[in-house]
Amino acid sequence: MHQKEQLLQKLKHQNEQLNDYAHLVSHDLKSSLRSLSALLTWVKEDCVEKIGEESVGNLNLMEAKIEKMDKFLEDIINYSEIGAKNLKTNTIDLNKKVINIIESLEVPKNINIVIINNLPILKADARRLRQVFENLISNAVNFNDKENGLVEIGVEEKEDFYTFSIKDNGQGIAKEYHEKIFNTFTTLGYHEKSTGMGLSIVKRVLELYGGDIWLESEVLKGTTFYFTFPKK
């Protein structure tokens, strides 16, 4: 038993070191990207007329790649920062919070987001809880392929916990991916902003609070993500 505990301690320590390492490397890479991005902008500014359309196109592609990589690193940093030791306890009025999150997203005009019932007040780390809602809502928006997109946010109260739902009428997710999508770096469709980290971040945050996440979906018709969050 003693040995087991020691091993667990060691693993925990190594895990933390790995996290710190990911954090550090991502920050350094992010700085380099920022430099590249600035230099690229200047080359474009200075040479657009000299280099021709095709080269300008390639520079634009480079710029887009840099942006994507930056987003990617940002997500790795976010993911590595999620840990029990840094959790704060804020009192969050979810009605306000979720509206605030929706307003901060770039939602296309053809997509309607509705909060279908009164959301509760929770005690949790505000930044982490934001990541949960933000990722789920933006997924529902970004991968929606319908002419009249609809995203519905709801909640059901149970004795010890709440079950939240984020429902969309998008493309749906085939059964074989229902587990897989929570793995890091897994994406199903292509979206310029998608890095495959979002749902891993969501899952990691919920695990910290002892919450669960699952989904129900019908291909081509839409998906509902459910997650639980304890009241205490």
């Binding site: 992010k30 700085s31 920022r34 430099s35 600035a38 902008t41 840099i66 930056d70 930044r127």
Partner: protein
């Protein structure tokens, strides 16, 4: 409103310095920039110069004396403690943000990826400080 500021830029990265200078050169008013490559060099400049900068723009991640160390030194110094200091960094690390605010800062800017966004935020910060009165030490 003043038309130009005396700025101490504490930054170790060459391209970041180029970005700053390129931004400044396109502004309507000529600001006066003094550069320091790290906290140590910045302290030297502060000690040697008779007139203090109006504002310090400070990177956090630097060799020798880093941004946080530099900040805590100047906040304890009677002569330097009123110089408004704006953090210019790549990290929105919660711990860094909190520590800087505890020590006392006049702003915390996370450098955006895009140069145009960067230039815009620098311009906004400097415009704001042009409208301010300073403690002349």
């Amino acid at each position: 409103m003043r038309k130009s500021l005396n700025i101490l830029l504490v930054e170790d990265d060459m391209i970041e310095i180029m970005k700053f200078n390129r931004t400044i050169s396109k502004l309507a008013y000529p600001h006066n920039i003094v550069e320091a490559k790290n906290g140590e060099e910045a302290l030297d400049i502060l000690y040697k110069n008779e007139s203090l900068p109006d504002i310090i723009l400070l990177d956090l991640n630097m060799p020798k004396i880093n941004g946080l160390e530099f900040l805590s030194i100047i906040r304890k110094n009677d002569h330097f403690k009123y110089i408004p200091t704006v953090i210019l960094t790549s990290s929105n690390d919660h711990k860094d943000v909190t520590e800087c605010h505890q020590l006392g800062i006049a702003g915390y800017l996370v450098k955006p990826l895009k140069f145009s966004d960067y230039a815009e935020s620098i311009k906004t910060v400097l415009d704001y400080w042009c409208f301010n009165e300073f403690v002349q030490a």
